[in-house]
Each structure stands twice: as structure tokens, then as C-alpha cells.
């Protein structure tokens, strides 16, 4: 049958676009996937931090004379405070464990005057009066302090939000640049093959018939580029994910992505190819509409 044997009427194989468009798409997929992964990591981190910010406080009882008495008084006062879900005194070993990342295994052997810590979980939405709690704590256990992490966590949240918006801006800019490149490629293809396009038009080809040949060409190039981009993401992300596991520690969750995050990132190449196809279709249809 002629339909199977005849190649496309538009001979794209020699076009300059066939060389650079896959690279552009690959870069788009690579940068978008990385930016998206970064955004998701930050989003998850912000959520974790917010959780800590709103539901936990740490009471620090400084070392010194009558430490056990002051510790017992602080713990008793906390347990009697409404709005606290759980109050737990950290053992000396647990406190030393927190220092291990800085002092190493020697942390437990060193005879350092360490403060004692009480971890308290707040009832969500309980509206605990922290200022009042501070006053009562000072009265019950002089020198004890409450660290609600608010100061440094809120700074980090603002920074993370800023980085998220930066990632979104990168995604938008990269996407827009890639779409502009596709428009350029399609227009140059139309210019290069103008004679054939006009001829097909004159023998009664519908715009869709001509447009589909451009779309198929862009989709082919897009798929090639998307594959390259995805391979680049895997090559870069795999060692980063491995290294990130090393950050896991007491009270610190290793940065990582959930399955649905990976699924969304996996959709980036498909979205890029789809966007390329749609851009090509719109560009061709618009150009062909100028023919009588």
C-alpha cells in the first residue's frame, strides 16, 4: 500500500532543527525536573518545620546546684499545665546523643556539664500561652528556659518559601524558553519547506494534514530530548539521594521525596513532549491559516 511505503512529504531529516531541538528539550526536562524536585523537597521540609513549630517545645534546665530538684519542679509544673499533650524528660544519654554529630562517640564519655531537656508536645490548636508558661516555669525552676524554635524556624520557612518561588520561576522561564525554541523551529521548518507546504495546500491538503507532519516531527524530537533529559535527572539525582540519607539523625528526617513526588517528576518528560506537540500544532495552524 502506498500509505505505508510513502515517507512524509516534508523531508525534515536535513533541517538544522533536528540537531538542536532535542538538546533544548533535554535541558528543559532536566532543569524543570530538578527545580520541581527542589520545590517538593522544600515544601516537605517546610511542612515538617511547621509541624515542629506549632506542636513542640523544648524546656532546658541548666546544669548547676540542685539540678534534680529544679528538673523535677519543671517537669511537675509542665505536667500540670493544660494544653500539653505529652511531657517527656530526655535521659542524659539522649542528650549526649544529640551532641554526637559534633563531638563524636566521645560525647558520652566526656564529663561535661550538660543541661537537661524536657520535650513537650502541645495539643494542636490548643492555644497555649507561652509567655505565661515561661513565667510559671521561671518561678518553679529558676533558670529554666523554653525554646519554642519559633525564631530560627520562621526564618528558615521564609527562606524556603523564597527558594520555592525561585524554583517556580525557573520552571516557568525554562518552559517559556523551550516553547519559544519550538516556535522558532516550526517557523524555520515552514520557511525551509515553504514550497512543499504550498504545493500540498494547492492539491487540497487540509491544514491538519500538513500540520500533523510538523507535529509528528516535533514529537519525535521532543521524545528524544525528553529521554535524554530524564536520563540526566536520574544520573544526577541518584547520588544526591544516596548522600541525603547520611543526613538522617535524631530528630532530623533525611530529605527525600515520596512516591507521588517521583510520579510527578516522571510526568515532566511527558508534559514537555505534550507541550511541544501542542505548541507545534498551534504554530503551524496559525501559519497555514494565512494561506487562502
Amino acid at each position: 500500500m502506498i500509505r505505508r511505503r510513502v515517507p512524509v512529504e516534508l523531508p525534515f531529516s536535513g533541517d538544522p532543527s533536528t540537531r538542536f531541538l532535542p538538546g533544548v528539550i533535554a535541558l528543559m526536562v532536566f532543569l524543570t525536573a530538578l527545580a520541581l524536585a527542589g520545590t517538593m523537597l522544600l515544601e516537605r521540609a517546610v511542612a515538617d518545620w511547621r509541624q515542629s513549630l506549632t506542636t513542640r517545645v523544648t524546656v532546658e534546665v541548666p546544669p548547676g546546684p540542685k539540678l534534680d530538684e529544679r528538673l523535677a519542679a519543671a517537669e511537675a509544673m509542665l505536667r500540670a499545665t493544660p494544653g500539653l499533650l505529652q511531657v517527656r524528660l530526655l535521659t542524659e544519654d539522649e542528650v549526649a546523643e544529640l551532641l554526637r554529630p559534633w563531638l563524636g562517640d566521645a560525647a558520652q564519655r566526656l564529663d561535661l556539664p550538660l543541661p537537661r531537656l524536657i520535650d513537650a508536645t502541645l495539643v494542636a490548636g490548643g492555644g497555649l500561652d507561652l509567655a505565661g508558661l515561661r513565667r510559671r516555669l521561671e518561678a518553679a525552676s529558676p533558670g529554666a528556659a523554653i525554646d519554642d524554635h519559633r525564631d530560627w524556624l520562621s526564618g528558615l520557612v521564609v527562606l524556603a518559601r523564597g527558594l520555592e518561588w525561585l524554583s517556580v520561576a525557573v520552571i516557568v522561564l525554562v518552559g517559556a524558553s523551550a516553547m519559544a525554541a519550538i516556535v522558532f523551529v516550526v517557523r524555520s521548518g515552514l520557511a525551509i519547506h515553504r514550497g512543499v507546504v504550498e504545493f500540498l495546500h494547492l492539491i487540497g491538503a487540509q491544514d491538519g494534514y500538513i500540520g500533523r507532519q510538523f507535529e509528528r516531527q516535533i514529537l519525535r524530537l521532543g521524545l528524544r530530548g525528553a529521554g535524554l533529559g530524564l536520563a540526566g535527572v536520574v544520573i544526577v539525582a541518584a547520588p544526591v539521594a544516596f548522600l541525603a540519607q547520611a543526613l538522617e539523625g535524631p530528630g532530623v528526617r533525611a530529605p527525600g521525596l515520596e512516591a507521588w513526588h517521583l510520579a510527578v517528576i516522571g510526568l515532566v518528560p511527558l508534559a514537555a513532549v505534550l507541550a511541544a506537540g501542542v505548541t507545534a500544532r498551534l504554530t503551524v495552524r496559525r501559519a497555514l491559516a494565512r494561506l487562502p
Binding site: M1, I2, R3, R5, V6, P7, E9, P11, G195, V196, E198, F199, L200, H201, L202, I203, G204, A205, Q206, Y209, A289, P292
Partner: protein, 227 residues
């Protein structure tokens, strides 16, 4: 079949290339279209095969006003028209069979029987031994015949040929004219643009004569088409 009423045409903001053109071609007629270079022959043909629309006046093809009809309906109208371009416009990367089959592909009629039909037509124009050749491998006359085969593969109601004998020797020209007359006898309306007065005198058909953008019709003794 074809009606031109007070047709004028210009390319964008350029000078008027056709002015007040009026004629009527009946179905099954055969006309020569002639005139000096720059008289407007190609412009008139471009109106006939819908590459251009009139700047003013009315062009009706197969009973339809081409300017007022929806753009999406024009492709169907174009498929009723076969065109032999002066420069052939064959696609270099396709074989003779593939070039001739193009109008069938475009119209979605490239079923299993199409290739047989295409090969028969190529044999009819004397190219049975060159079906798989690419245009670059063929002479000008052979390319011309591929262009003719491609123009008639869809059994067009109207066949337009722009200087089809311009680049071939007298023998080939006579053979091509024989092909056009055969197609005309089968019911195809033919308009053949040519400079060749000898050809016009030799064959008995009415003449559309263009001079500086205006048209005059010279009826032939046994003219069949000009109203």
C-alpha cells in the same frame, strides 16, 4: 464550471495584474490561455487553482463563489482541480509512484488498489519503466509526464497546465497535447497556458488572450466552451 465576473487582482499593495476579467468555461471545454510574459497568465491560473483570491469581482468554480465560501471547504474544491505546474513541483525525495500518488494520499484515497492505479497511469504516460525513479534521475520531459500523471490521478473536473510544452521538444510536445486531448475527451475541462502560437494554431480550441491584465476571448471555429 468556471465563471469570472469583473475580476481584478493585485498582489498585496502591488500594481493591478488583472482587471475586469470576464469569461465562462463550460464543462468539458478545452481552452488555450495565452499572452506575452507578464500579461497575467500565471495570475489567472493562480485564481483558477485557488492559490489566490480575487481582489474584486467574483470567481465561481463548480457553482461556488470561492471568496465567500468557508476556508475549510476550499481543499475539497482544490481536489477537483488538477494542476501541471510550469516548474513541475515534484518532490525530489519521493519516487515517481509516490509523487503521482500524492493527491490520493492527501484526499485519503490511497487504499490497496491505489498503487495499481498509479502504475497504470504512469504506464499510460510512457513511464512504466521509471516508476521507482526519483525526479533527479529523469529527463525534463519525463518529469513533465509525472507532473501530468499526478495532476490527473484524482480524475479532476478541471485540468490546468502552465506551459506544459515549454521545456520539451516538438515530438514530446505533440505527445503531451495528445494526452491532454484524450483527457478532455473523457470529460475533463482543460485550460492550457502557453506562449506557443504554433501550438494554438495547430489545435482547434478557443483562446483566452491576456494583454496587460485584460482578457479577450478568441473563439475557435469549432469552439466548444466559451460563452
Amino acid at each position: 464550471m468556471v465563471v469570472f465576473e469583473n475580476v481584478a487582482m493585485r498582489y498585496e499593495q502591488g500594481p493591478v495584474v488583472l482587471r475586469d476579467v470576464n469569461f465562462h468555461l463550460r464543462e468539458g471545454s478545452f481552452h488555450f490561455l495565452t499572452g506575452l510574459s507578464g500579461a497575467g497568465k500565471s495570475s489567472l491560473l493562480s485564481l483558477l487553482y485557488l492559490a489566490q483570491l480575487p481582489t474584486s469581482g467574483r470567481v465561481k468554480l463548480f457553482g461556488q463563489d470561492v471568496a465567500s465560501m468557508p476556508r475549510t471547504e476550499r481543499p475539497a474544491l482544490r481536489r477537483k482541480i488538477g494542476v501541471v505546474f510550469q516548474d513541475f513541483r515534484l518532490l525530489d525525495h519521493l519516487t515517481a509512484v509516490e509523487n503521482v500518488a500524492l493527491p490520493l494520499r492527501v484526499s485519503g484515497n490511497d487504499g490497496p488498489e491505489a498503487e495499481t492505479h498509479v502504475r497504470e497511469l504512469l504506464a499510460w504516460v510512457g513511464l512504466a519503466d521509471h516508476v521507482d525513479a526519483r525526479p533527479r534521475e529523469l529527463s525534463g520531459g519525463q518529469q513533465q509526464r509525472i507532473a501530468i500523471a499526478r495532476a490527473v490521478i484524482n480524475r479532476p473536473l478541471l485540468l490546468l497546465a502552465d506551459e506544459p510544452t515549454g521545456n520539451v521538444d516538438d515530438t514530446t510536445a505533440a505527445r503531451l497535447m495528445y494526452l491532454f486531448e484524450e483527457l478532455n475527451k473523457m470529460g475533463t475541462t482543460v485550460v492550457l497556458a502557453t506562449h506557443a502560437e504554433l501550438l494554438i494554431r495547430r489545435f482547434d480550441h478557443p483562446v483566452l488572450r491576456l494583454e496587460a491584465g485584460t482578457l479577450a476571448v478568441d473563439p475557435a471555429p469549432r469552439a466548444r466552451g466559451v460563452a
